[in-house]
Each structure stands twice: as structure tokens, then as C-alpha cells.
Symmetry: C2
Subunit: 333 residues, 2 copies
DNA sequence: TTGTACGCGTTATCAG
DNA sequence: CTGATAACGCGTACAA
């Protein structure tokens, strides 16, 4: 079955391509009623559907937003994607999602691919390894929004969690419950990723504010597959932490694994709080106290920023949009 | 910054467009070395990137596969998507993922959108509400593969779990452990979705084979938000089940919620098995016995089928490719 | 070995 | 009110 084009419709309706095009774009201002009907009928009979690719070429707009997530394995990523999708869909935009797997190389490749595909804008969870590429995008005045992370000296708006606050909420909660020897484990060691840095920074700061000691042995940044060993090192020493903050959902899983394997009781032997409100937090034994990110709002904000920019609304490109975390108090601390 | 086109490159390198095109497509057979260098340099200096949209229009191929999932909330969906992405990426294909939210209307809209976007093929988790549309695709000989579900009388290959076997594994395991009053809860009531039907069918069949009674009160198909009530009805009667099979991950979450709220002990008061191996199965208290789907293999198969079809390899369109589930025995039964 | 000319499907412009 | 024509950016016979 050959594709039916606008030319076929025009032929069948005995009008010219342009007239059909007018019809399709609802410019009936001066169109004869019977012409309209003939076209309508021809389209119907032939089952004609406009070719978006051809239209995009002409219009220089694909109504598509590219989204590059650093790591799709985080629940945060999928939730944000859903929010972006919802919003874009509402405004007639499609999204193409790519997963950079935390590799700057891959990220760069995807950026190029998406540009070549002429997406109208880009939402990126930056891997921070492609500053030059980001700068090129800025120079070209290409619509880009960062989410989850920011990149210093790059004039691209960022949608971020108030990460220091997230750590602070946790530490303060630990402190209120009487825990004094508090540790933190985060991931994303290889690249200087903002959330990790800010969470550790906020962690230390909050310890000080709560008059608690900062013990460097209790502060670790590890790749996921090193976490079991790291936990062992941390928890099997004489003086070990009695409370542990998981820097994200993947770390939390590793902690729960360790705790299970070593029959450690939560929260009597070890209190636990996780950043990111995982789906099973409420049904786990004990239920898990978490710091929730407003994922939906954040995704929405990123999408709004991009679509606004496409309409040439003025956006402050230096701006960082911070969102506040909330502590969901359950039984694990 | 204006977009730089092949014409700009040609001008700069003092050659014609076609020569540049040759270069881009690596047809150097008869190209002068210095011409090559000039072009190379011009591309470099201008930062030229080919416009995929224009290329697609000419080549009538977008190197893009559309994926429509019925419900992105299932862990199964995301895992399958990752597998598809991996495979497609390897072969230079991109994917566009759409979430139909279990609504046939939405699914239909997405099918039309993806076709208009000229995707080269479609992988669909069918909602079963668009048989006519599917038939149109078949008639047009358009490359489509179904996954997770099948649709009767539609000649489209399907990649599916051996669902009856999944139920059988669970029931037999329950039986071996001495449970006799076994129930099942599934979702997707509104549409006649294959997995649910097959799982219930397999469930009943296995009960009979294990010489256990089939109690209709213990077999429920409910929308997610009705499950709490359903569990109440089922578990608060005199003679209630002592073992429960969760038809998928969402049902499992609901069961765990109920169990928590009513302080029911697993497995002494109620044994539980879930179809779909959720991430926290191994760290839950107790660890959860699950029936795992080979999600990666299934996604891979779907992707392979589509790409094969694009290369006009013969594929039996009547074929249903069944994948075997495996029981992961843990503590919840 | 390189250039010319045209087609892909759509839309904008402008003449009629 | 409608139609011819020229783009959009790329690829490819075919000619030179």
C-alpha cells in the first residue's frame, strides 16, 4: 500500500495542493463550501494522514522536546519524565527520552542526535562532562533546561531540589530522635555532580548546627557496586554510626540489602532515612522515613520553562529554580 | 545563529552539494584526496550537522521505532523498554515511547501520531480496544509487534509470557508448602486483556491439577483502587484464603499495604507470591517469593522481530513467542 | 571525479 | 475563492 500524499488528495478532489493545504490548516476564510466537502471526502476515502516529517522540514519545527536523563534507574528520573510528558502532551508536543547512563560520551552523542532530529528544545539531567557542548548550545541560543543538577558557569536555567535542605531535614530528624553518630552514603563519585556535593555539604553543615561531630569515616561517596564493602567498612568498626542517610534510592536499596544480610535491626541498631520517597517505603518493615522530592512539580517546571522559551517568553537563563523537599516521617527513624 | 546546511558546506569547500553528500555517505570511491580534505575542513569549521528530518523525508525512513506501552507504571514496562532501547540503539535506531494509560482512545491517538511521524515500525502493548486500527496496520503491511498481550484474529506477532505457567508455578509452590485455600487478585478488568485471562485460567487449571478446590470468592479482578475493599471482602470472612497470588506488581503493593494495615503475618497467616519480580523482593520482611518474567529477553525479542521485519526478513505474523517464567523462592511462601 | 537537476511532502506567497 | 510556484535540506541519477 503506497502512502497517500496531499497530491493524491488534491487530484481526487480536483483542486490544487495548496487548496488542500489550506483546508488542512483550517484557513477556510474564503473557501467554497462545496470545495471543502470535496476535499473532506477525498481525505476520508483515501485515508489520508499528513506527513509530519515533511511538515516539520518546511516549518522548521518538530513539536518535539528531547529529554536526556543521566540515569533512568532512579525512580526520580521516571517520575520527572512522566510529569514532562503530561505537560508536553497537553500542549501538543512529543518527547523523545534518552538515557545517558551517566556517561558524558553517550550524553554528547544523544545531544547531537536530538539536534540532528531537529527537536525544538532539550531538557537535560546533565552529566557535567560536556561543558563545551553546553556552551555551544548557549551560544546558539538553543532552548535548554537542566534538571536535577546544575553546571557552573553555564548560562542554562536549572530546576533543582534544595539539596542542602534535604540533608538538613534528615540530620535534624536524626538528632531529634537522639541519634548522634550519623553517616551518609552517596553515589555518582566519578563526576562532580551537584546533588551529591550539595547533599554532603548540607549534611556536614547540619551536623554542626545540631552540635554533632562531623566524622569523615561516616561520609562516603561510592559507586553502587562498592556500597556493600563501604557499609562493611563503616559499620563493622568499633565506633560505628547509629544512623545512616541514603543519598538516593539506589543507595537505600543497598543499605537495606546489607541490613538484611547482617540481621541489623532498624531503627534500634541503625536508624535509616532515604532521600527519594520509594514506592515501598510505606509497606516496608519498618516503614521507611524518607525525604521526598516534589518530582511532579519539578518536571512540570522544566517543561514549562522549555515551552515558554519556545514562545520567546523571557526567561532568566541564570536562574536556578529550587524546590523544597519534605520529610515523610515513618518508623525507620 | 542560522542553521548551517549542506549548501553552506558546499559553497565553503567550493564543490557541489552532491559531492558533499557523497562525502557524508562515505562514497569516496572516486573522490580526490584534496577535495575530501576541503570538505572535511569546511564541515569542521562550520560545525555542520546533517538534518535528519530532511534526510528522512527523502529516504522515507526515520530510523525510529515507536513504542506504546499500555501502562508505564508497571515495572515490567520500564524494563522491557530498556531492553528495546538497548537493542535498537545498537542498530542505529531511536525509539519514541508513549504511555497509553490503559486507554484505547489514547492508544489510537498515539498510533496515528507515530505513523504521521513516519516511524519505521511499532511495538505495542495493546489495550485491545482498537482492533480496527490494528487491522488497518496489518492491511497496510506495516511492521508491528505486540508484546505482553495478544489480540485474537489480528495477524500480528506477539511476544508473551507463558502466563498459565506463571500461575501454575505459583499454585504448585503454594500446594507444596501445604497451602490449600488459595486466592488470586488481578487488575485490568475493563478490557479483556490476555495476561489477566490466562493467569486466571492457569490458576484454576493448576488448582484442579493439584487437587485443590476452586473457590470463586477467592478469584478477583479489580481496578487498583478497589483492591483494598476486595481484600477486605476476601480476608475478613469466616473461611478465608491462606495464600494469595498477586497478578502483577501493582496488586502486590496493594496486598502488602493491606497486610501491613491489618497486621497480618506473612507467611504464617497469609502466604504471598507475586507475579513480576519487584526490586525490593529480596530485602522485604519477609523476602518475597515471586514469579519473574524474562523482561530483558522479551524486550529483545520484540525489538529483533521489528528490525528483522524492516529488513524484509520473513516473519510468521501468526506466531506467538512465549517466554517462560521462573519462580524465585523466598520467604513469603 | 564533479556538477546539474529533480524529487521527497508540505506550506507560504502571491497572482489570478 | 483557487492555483502555480518556490522554497525547506538532502540524496541520487545522469550528464559532463
Amino acid at each position: 500500500m503506497r502512502k497517500v500524499t496531499i497530491t493524491d488528495v488534491a487530484k481526487k478532489a480536483n483542486v490544487s495542493k495548496s487548496t488542500v493545504s489550506q483546508y488542512l490548516n483550517k484557513r477556510f476564510d474564503y473557501m467554497a463550501e462545496k470545495t471543502k466537502e470535496r476535499i473532506e471526502q477525498a481525505i476520508e476515502e483515501l485515508g489520508y494522514k499528513p506527513n509530519i516529517v515533511a511538515r516539520s522540514l518546511k516549518q522548521k519545527s518538530t513539536s518535539t522536546i528531547g529529554v536526556i536523563v543521566a540515569n533512568i534507574l532512579h525512580a526520580f528520573s521516571t517520575q520527572v519524565i512522566r510529569a514532562i510528558e503530561d505537560y508536553c502532551h497537553e500542549y501538543g508536543f512529543h518527547i523523545i527520552v534518552c538515557n545517558a547512563d551517566d556517561e558524558p560520551e553517550k550524553e554528547k552523542k544523544y545531544i547531537e542526535m536530538l539536534l540532528a532530529k531537529q527537536v525544538d528544545g532539550l531538557i537535560i539531567f546533565p552529566t557535567v562532562g560536556n561543558v563545551d557542548t553546553y556552551q555551544d548550545l548557549v551560544k546558539a541560543n538553543y532552548p535548554v533546561v537542566f534538571i536535577d543538577r546544575m553546571v557552573h558557569d553555564v548560562k542554562i536555567p536549572s530546576v533543582m531540589l534544595n539539596n542542602e535542605k534535604a540533608s538538613d531535614l534528615a540530620v535534624t530528624h536524626f538528632a531529634e530522635k537522639g541519634y548522634k553518630k550519623i553517616g551518609i552514603i552517596t553515589t555518582s563519585v566519578s563526576h562532580n555532580v551537584t546533588p551529591r556535593i550539595e547533599r554532603v555539604k548540607g549534611f556536614k553543615k547540619s551536623l554542626v548546627e545540631n552540635n554533632l561531630p562531623v566524622i569523615n569515616d561516616f561520609i562516603k561517596s561510592l559507586e553502587v557496586d562498592e556500597i556493600q564493602q563501604g557499609l562493611k567498612d563503616m559499620l563493622q568498626q568499633e565506633n560505628c554510626p547509629d544512623a545512616l542517610l541514603a543519598g538516593n534510592d539506589l543507595v537505600l536499596m543497598e543499605i537495606l540489602k546489607y541490613v538484611k544480610d547482617h540481621s541489623i535491626n532498624i531503627p534500634t541498631e541503625l536508624a535509616v532515612i532515604g532521600i527519594d520517597d520509594v514506592e515501598f517505603a510505606g509497606v516496608y518493615y519498618p516503614t521507611l522515613t524518607t525525604i521526598a522530592q516534589p518530582t511532579f512539580e519539578m518536571g512540570l517546571k522544566a517543561a514549562t520553562l522549555i515551552l515558554d522559551k519556545l514562545q520567546n517568553k523571557e526567561i532568566d537563563s541564570e536562574e536556578i529554580y529550587r524546590f523544597e523537599p519534605t520529610l515523610i516521617s515513618r518508623e525507620s527513624c
